[in-house]
Amino acid sequence: MSESPLVCPVGSGQMPKKLYAVAAEFGNPAELYHAAEQVRDKGYKWWDTYTPFYIHGLDKAMGLGKSWVGKFTLAGGLLGLTVGFLLETISSVYVYPMDTQGKPYFSLPGFVPIMDLLTILTSAIVSITGMTMLCMLPRLHHPLWDWDAFTRATHDKFFIVIEANDPRFSEKTTVDLLREIGGTNLTFIGDEE
């Protein structure tokens, strides 16, 4: 009983049973940048680039919109501000009023540092949580990890991966596109069933 492999180089004649994506390798950031622009212009939506380091402007080359993380930060910040204010007001005005240097129980200037710090803390926590959720993390496995060549995405190679569930995906035209824009080592990546 021969199972079809998960990783099949294009042209090898084999195909994974359940196709996840087709991937292509690029030699340097400039190639990747221009390749990404062309994939974007073809109207693909479910695809991603993988690089060892941050490339300025790549988000625009990929046509990515504004990140949603800022909304999480704002929500977290407002939450922290409110919680800080209530925490201080309830405890020092109602629950446990204490005379400190003859200052009024409700002394807003004294509350500000706590409100400020809770704003920062909560917005940071909510931002990181939100970012992790938006990245669909944490996950235990990713189909690309079956591909040995992909380990170099953290070292010296650049990748474009177009997923099979993209409406414009087709085994023929997508492979042609990746080849045309300069991708090498074209490979079908399969997903486990």
């Binding site: 340097n28 950031p29 400039a30 190639e31 990747l32 940048y33 221009h34 490339i55 300025h56 402007g57 790549l58 625009k60 080359a61 504004k66 800022g70 704002l74 240097q101 200052k103 200037p109 004294g110 500000v112 540092p113």
Partner: protein, 401 residues
């Protein structure tokens, strides 16, 4: 850095032509009129004139000193984004000798200086507290410090301006290297001098009062105001058809910095208040007592809302930072609030019980502003409006963030 190719076509020199710039005539006219009116004011009401002139001087001096900081920061960090903006700062540094001239009326005329800095009045000479502080507050030392402030900023400022302008012709990258090497020490000296002129001129308005956070506070005031002024100057130059190569990326960067330094100002200004409020020592709280009497109290609330809350919320939005129009609007607002804040700081010493605006406040502000504006146009016209042969020009033009 990033690999995508950069446009290698460099823009040619971009020169300002004062004759074709409508502001030149306006500034020239206003400065002549302003000097006449200021002289009238000085004769009619010297006390008010001293405060008003000092207010106008300090308003613009903080901007110039902030520009010194930005230039040094640019070189110390080897910044790329600020190359095109830098010439504006350097041009302002070239104006520093003029600031010394503007300081002369209040700094060297005994009748005016002792209105501002009351420890200079002979009547206080036997005051016990003043004798304790006389190691610092005495005439020889005061003038030594004045000379050190102006001497250092003028020499260093002109050195940077000259080197940068000369690089336009010889394109020598070693100039950038040299300016980079000097910038670290310059930042340290800047920090010390900025702290002490704040002590001497602003905190010294009431010599019994002192605040340990005052140096940072003065710094926050300088840096925020000068960045707002830079944005406004760039917007004016662009409306005259210059500096067209700046993109929204540059505005976005400046907007982010303006946002950051707005928060920083609030942090420091509030921190100073909080420490004094907590400790509750009469020698220190007297400052906030004096500045919250009568109508002055409402002005302090306006500053909290207008200089911190409104700009901070406004600048949270990316769109407001990326559009020059929206950014200029808030920069104008912040500069107005900078004026309000200094007014709130300085004027209670002139009118303790309530806000009494004097016509001289406006006249001196317009006079000093138009003299400096005219000098800015003249200095800017002597070179290109951006460094044409800076080694990092290409990176600056293609900056992304």
């Amino acid at each position: 850095m990033s690999g995508h190719p950069s446009s290698l076509q460099l823009p040619g020199p971009d020169r300002l032509q004062p004759g074709r710039f409508a502001l030149t005539t306006i500034f020239a006219g206003l400065s002549v009129l302003g000097i006449i009116f200021s002289l009238v004011g000085a004769l009619v009401n010297p006390t008010q004139f001293a405060y008003s002139w000092f207010y106008a001087f300090y308003f613009f001096f903080t901007i110039a000193i902030g520009c010194f900081f930005w230039t040094m920061l640019h070189y110390a960090c080897d910044s790329e984004w600020s190359v095109v903006v830098r010439r504006t700062w350097e041009t302002i540094l070239g104006l520093l000798p003029l600031f010394f001239v503007l300081f002369i009326p209040i700094g060297f005329i005994p009748e005016l200086r002792q209105v501002l800095w009351q420890w200079m009045q002979p009547i206080h000479a036997t005051d016990h507290e003043l004798t304790l502080r006389s190691g610092y507050l005495n005439f020889p030392f005061f003038y030594i410090r004045v000379l050190v402030y102006f001497g250092y900023f003028i020499i260093a400022g002109r050195w940077y301006w000259k080197n940068s302008v000369r690089q336009d012709t010889d394109g020598d990258p070693r100039r950038t290297r040299r300016m980079h090497d000097h910038s670290y020490l310059a930042l340290v000296i800047f920090g010390v001098l900025e702290t002490f002129f704040g002590f001497d001129w602003l905190m010294g308005l009431y010599w019994r009062w002192s605040s340990s956070l005052f140096g940072v506070y003065n710094f926050a005031v300088c840096v925020q105001a000068s960045l707002a002024a830079t944005i406004i100057i760039i917007a004016i130059l662009r409306s005259g058809g210059h500096l067209k190569m700046l993109t929204y990326e540059h505005f976005y960067l400046m907007g982010k910095l303006l946002f950051g330094f707005t928060i920083f100002w609030a942090y420091i200004a509030f921190g100073q208040f909080l420490l004094i409020w907590f400790a509750n020592i009469p020698e220190e709280t007297i400052f906030y007592n004096d500045h919250n009497r009568g109508l002055w109290k409402y002005l302090s609330y306006i500053i909290i809302v207008g200089k911190f809350m409104f700009p901070a919320i406004y600048l949270l939005s990316q769109d407001n930072k990326k559009s020059l129009r929206a950014l200029t609007a808030i920069a104008v607002w912040i500069l107005i609030m900078h004026g309000v804040e200094l007014y709130w700081f300085i004027m209670p010493y002139a009118h303790q019980n309530s806000i009494i605006p004097s016509w001289q406040d406006f006249v001196t502000l317009i006079t000093v502003g138009s003299i400096l504006g005219l000098a800015f146009i003249r200095t800017a016209a002597r070179a290109s409006l951006f460094p044409t042969r800076d080694p990092r020009l290409v990176e600056c033009l293609n900056v992304t963030n």
